[in-house]
């Protein structure tokens, strides 16, 4: 069984001192409405965009 790690999960684990410079504010999180393959493809596309704009 695959369960997406959502913004809600992430928010629950961030400390109250969290700000925009913490990894938890920046990581790409899964869309629970999509399956694993679709989430993987989204992540891969986002990685390509980030790589092209920063490297």
């Amino acid at each position: 069984m695959f369960t997406a790690f959502t913004q809600q999960h992430c928010d629950a684990l961030l400390s109250i001192r969290a700000n925009e410079t913490k990894l938890g504010q920046q990581v790409l999180l899964a869309n629970p409405k999509l399956n694993l393959a679709e989430n993987a493809q989204l992540a891969a596309n986002a990685a390509r965009v980030w790589h092209h704009s920063h490297c």
């Binding site: 069984m1 369960t3 790690f5 990894l23 920046q26 990581v27 694993l36 993987a40």
Partner: protein, 153 residues
């Protein structure tokens, strides 16, 4: 579960949230920016074994979990991602190795950093025999491992 199938202590399934609580609160930096990472999700069995589950049933459940790990990580490799699997027992090494072999068609050169070699008998899947099962399927080339504990006398 898989550690209990190896007559060890359970609890490794809690690792993901413990690890995420630390990781997500790290400061982004020039070596690791949050936008370089995606947290996809969690893999688990639909029915979790309980404290009364027999060792044989735990080993069967570990084999079922192997297949879930193989299926999930194969999809990540297909998408061009580099998966990091957190938590569970070291049984997950087997699923990862099998998924890489399925994706590349080649045996994998793996480095195992562990006090144990995870090369125990193929007596049913558990946390201590991921590499022996992987080697039996020509999945792993001879592997170095670091941190091995000296055998007790």
């Amino acid at each position: 579960m898989s550690a209990r199938a190896n007559f060890g202590r359970g609890g490794a399934s809690e690792t993901l949230h413990a690890c995420m609580a630390q990781f997500l609160n790290l400061q982004s930096n020039r070596f690791l920016h949050g936008n370089q990472c995606a947290i996809i999700g969690q893999i688990s069995l639909t029915t979790q074994p309980d404290s009364t589950t027999s060792v044989d049933a735990l080993r069967q459940a570990t084999a079922e979990l192997d297949q879930l790990v193989i299926d999930a990580t194969s999809q990540l490799f297909q998408a061009g991602l580099e998966p990091i699997v957190i938590g569970g027992g070291h049984n997950n090494a087997y699923g990862l190795l099998m998924a890489i072999k399925a994706y590349t068609g080649l045996p994998v050169a793996a480095v195992n950093l562990d006090p144990h070699s995870d090369f125990r008998l193929r007596e049913g899947r558990h946390s201590g025999n991921g590499f022996s099962y992987a080697c039996s399927q020509w999945c792993v080339r001879p592997l170095p491992y670091f941190g091995a504990a000296r055998a007790k006398k």
